[in-house]
Symmetry: C2
Subunit: 226 residues, 2 copies
């Protein structure tokens, strides 16, 4: 069974990459920079978006929400008056655990790409498969909550290796946890040496300015190239 499965999956990944390149071409044509935003469930992706989408100077932001089911996060972001499209992955078979390029493609017509500078694709909460499927993004950003423990880079190395920025979130909880931040950063550097990281708390706002600046630089750099 396993060999057949590997071959099927390789075929799916090839097909995925072809569609990802088509997405990429559409994004480039529209001059929009794209973030594939990933984390475990409940690490704080949506809250970290709520904190910044209205306050990026001169950057027009849109969001594509990926969830197995429901529109809870999309509703939270739409209430902030940014364009939001929702993809639900459950029509597949009991629910896909990641976005693929085709799902993202299906949602693009409902977003005003030409009127955006930055599109943030909030992936399904999962530390494994989202890292395996390119969707046409420029960069991958992941959120690692300090409540998840120090060992996660070692246990989910592909995700930590695939990303361009790690947001270490919920640092306001550090005094209440048995969590060794230095050990986490050591593990992070073991699997992805020197990867950019920001310490943040969506709850207290600590580090959110730096996250905002990072996104603004990304979107602006996009504009200079376009």
């Amino acid at each position: 069974m396993h060999r057949v499965k590997v071959r099927v999956v390789e075929g799916l990944l090839d097909a995925n990459d072809t569609i990802a390149r088509a997405n990429r071409a559409d994004f480039d044509r529209a001059g929009v920079r794209v973030v594939n935003f990933m984390s475990a469930p409940g690490a704080g992706k949506t809250t970290l978006l709520e904190a910044v989408v209205q306050s990026l100077p001169g950057v027009r932001v849109g969001v594509l929400e990926g969830d197995v089911q429901g529109t809870l996060d999309a509703a939270r972001l739409a209430s902030l008056h940014v364009p939001v499209a929702q993809v639900n992955t459950d029509p597949g078979f009991g629910g896909e655990c990641h976005l693929d390029a085709n799902m993202v493609r299906s949602a693009l017509p409902s977003l005003p790409l030409d009127g955006l500078d930055l599109l943030i694709i909030e992936n399904v909460g999962n530390l494994v498969c989202p890292a395996e499927f390119r969707v046409g993004e420029d960069v991958r950003v992941m959120v690692a909550s300090v409540t998840e423990g120090e060992d996660k880079p070692l246990k989910y190395p592909l995700m930590f290796r695939a990303c361009d920025l790690v947001l270490v979130n919920k640092i306001d909880l550090l005094p209440h946890l048995d969590y060794d931040l230095d050990l986490f950063l050591h593990h992070l550097d073991q699997v992805h040496p020197g990867v950019e990281r920001l310490l943040v708390s969506a709850r207290t706002g600590e580090g959110v300015d730096a996250w905002r600046a990072w996104l603004t630089t990304l979107a602006t750099r996009g504009r200079a190239i376009a």
Copy 2:
């Protein structure tokens, strides 16, 4: 692409169920009760096992550890002198996000099934796919950490619907979170009305006695039937 994919996956799930039944038969023959133990990454599965595996009265416990990569959790549990087997899912293709029946089957020869009353299978940290693959278990237990937010039952309904017990973990952090426990329980009852739940803190030990009692009852009931 999608229809082909659904057909392929349905085939894989059928094959999986056949192997799950073979596992089940082996477990019954050995008189061992089996828990499929699931959660998001970092919700506290391993810590909740460390808290109980040595202190279940008259119950001989074994653990099967599923991880994408590494043996960190297996080492933690082996140091407590319980039989532990490790399955790594990464030989598949960049890492499978769940255990399937065949992976579990491959690890059974390294466990002394006849000398166990209770086998706990710690699945890969993921709220989607582990719920789709039966591995031959008697019951499914999931851990939901209060740090993950109140909305998770609505966003990952299959997982919450599939389980027989929900451990609501890290309740020691409640004073430091904007988390409405009643709202979480309301959402839980929306997707799985009346499902058993225990409020626990692996860190302070609150609720761990009830978790221990639950497992002891399960293993004892197993013995009475066998």
